[in-house]
Amino acid sequence: MEKELWKGNEAIAEAAIRAGCNCFFGYPITPQSEVPEYMSVHLPQAGGVFVQSESEIAAINMVYGAAGAGMRAMTSSSSPGISLKQEGISYLAGAEVPCVIVNCMRGGPGLGTIQPSQGDYFQATRGGGNGDYRTVVLAPSNVQETVDFVQEAFDIADQYRNPVMIVCDGLIGQMMEPIEWRPVPRRDLPPKDWAASGRKGRDHHNVINSLYMAPEDCDRHNQHLEEKYAAIAENETRWEEVDCRDADVIITAYGTPARIALTALETLQAEGVKAGLFRPITLWPFPQEALRRLAERPNVKAFLDVEMSSSGQMLDDVRLAVEGRRPVRYLGHAGGVMPTVEEMTASVKAVLKEVQ
């Protein structure tokens, strides 16, 4: 299959169109504005709907309306805009409305910087909105994965009637890389007989709603959601292991730092240091069991978590999985500074020295 050179953000938009996205609602924010720009031209050509909303709040609620009425709907933004969408994401999760949300992360808190960051891990995986809910969070680490995951995300969302979030960062959004439009696995999906799309002869009216006034009803609804989340965790958890078989130190990283780590591994191996990479692909559900199994392996002496975050956010999940079996150390920067290959190799060696 022929490779084509695509910019990350434009590839995200094109991937969504190819996945049958019917409508996109967005608002400009750096570094993701190429997504709405591309959509504004190409989605109507494909028979879809593009609306530039007055705010990220409105955009996510337009998604709620369109997806609640049965459409494949999508929005994208970057960190501060994703903060504004949290209310809507909570409602989408509560009302079980499937949709795809892309966060092209930049540095925070507040306005922060427009440069790449991973400071929204907690927000994405813990649910930045109110209530007990989860969104499926896919974290691609290159442009090819990004287009594959965007296409798959619509099916995952529809299968579980749940929002799916793609978290990438400004680097993936802005960079160009050759990709293949390879076919992604398509799922057998249930009909959207729950959608509020007009009765059209149906014997009952459909309601899209997250309100359960009676405590028992709300509890029951939450139990139902929990069962769904357990099924997602069972079926959809994804990760990648690189050179972990005989590694002394394992780097845990996702997205761009995981990619930088691949180069660090080459350098370390050339120097005779045995290092591996454990890369969560779904941040929620987090690949806890797989990481626990690694922590129990006799060859593994320590973990080095690397993120574009000042104090580490995924670090919590790594520690919860490792459960004290091995030391877990941290390397990270915030504010758009990316960890370098040199820093990673030095940190791996320092960790190794510490445990030997």
């Binding site: 019917n22 409508c23 609602f25 709907v49 609306v51 909303s53 007055e54 705010s55 709040i57 409105a58 955009a59 609620n61 337009m62 998604v63 709620y64 309306g65 369109a66 997806a67 609640g68 009425a69 459409m71 709907a73 209310e87 809507g88 409602y91 009302a95 959608a195 509020a196 799309s197 007009g198 009765r199 059209k200 002869g201 009216h205 459909n206 309601v207 899209i208 709603n209 997250s210 309100l211």
Partner: protein, 249 residues
């Protein structure tokens, strides 16, 4: 025996939760009857607010979406843009529409979204227990302005129908009330007209319905109707505020 009156099939059999003397029930009926009479019920999609009408999805028999506070016009935009031939409406109160949802309603009107918004103005937050709304009148007491609203502290009340009518995307704005049969008849006519203009794809249509809240106003239903007539209508005058179709035709 001849049937002389029947509940509209646009409403479900659910028992309304509204307080005695509240006008929501009448307004629900008018919206439901309008949808049925225009043959729109089977395809209609409604969006309800947060506030007293939050359970409207239990009462209207068409498909419904429950929106977050103030966001109904954005939700309706998503529905209408993807279902352009179907009737789409929002049903919103004054806290929902004129306070937290101001951006959404203004921009839906600006874009000329082909939806109908039924705006219930009762000059107070009902569901949360009688707090001051943007529509609360000067001197009117509420739980967050217990000595009465002052212009100095909270500004002057907002006239939504007039404000939205300044936007080119808004093709129809009328203010009505349902205090008596002649006004109920006028209100129904306005609601039907709004839906007709929506289905003609003319633009955004808006019906503001002045409504009573005896519970939070601390009045009997009859006193409340009297207060609406003597206090609200002078500040919120009834009638057609904008009807571009009328000018064109």
């Amino acid at each position: 025996m001849a049937i002389v009156y029947q509940k509209s099939p646009g409403l479900t059999d659910a028992e309304l939760h509204y307080c005695p003397g509240c006008n929501h029930g009448i307004i629900h009926k008018l919206v439901a009857e309008s949808l049925v009479e225009l043959g729109l019920l089977d395809e209609a999609i409604g969006v309800c607010p947060v506030g007293c009408a939050v359970f409207a999805y239990n009462y209207f028999s068409c498909d419904m979406l429950e929106a977050a506070h103030g966001r109904a016009p954005a939700v309706a935009t998503g529905v209408k843009r993807t279902h352009p031939t179907q009737a789409v409406f929002t049903y919103q109160g004054d806290g929902d529409l004129a306070s937290i949802g101001m951006a959404e309603i203004v921009h839906a009107a600006m874009r000329g979204e082909k939806i109908t918004t039924i705006f219930i103005n009762n000059a107070i937050y009902g569901m949360t227990g009688g707090q001051m709304a943007p529509t609360t009148l000067i001197g009117q007491k509420a739980t967050t302005c217990q000595s009465g609203r002052t212009a100095e502290q909270a500004g002057m009340p907002i006239r939504m129908a007039e404000m939205l009518s300044t936007l080119d995307g808004c093709v129809y704005a009328e203010r009505v009330c349902v205090t008596d049969i002649p006004n109920i008849t006028k209100a129904k006519r306005a609601i039907k007209k709004a839906f007709e203009k929506q289905m003609n794809r003319e633009g955004f249509t808006f019906v503001e319905v002045l409504s009573t809240c005896p519970t939070n106003w601390g009045m009997t239903p009859l006193q409340a109707i009297d207060w609406l007539k003597t206090r609200m209508i002078p500040y919120y005058p009834l009638g057609v505020i904008k009807d571009t179709g009328a000018e064109v035709k």
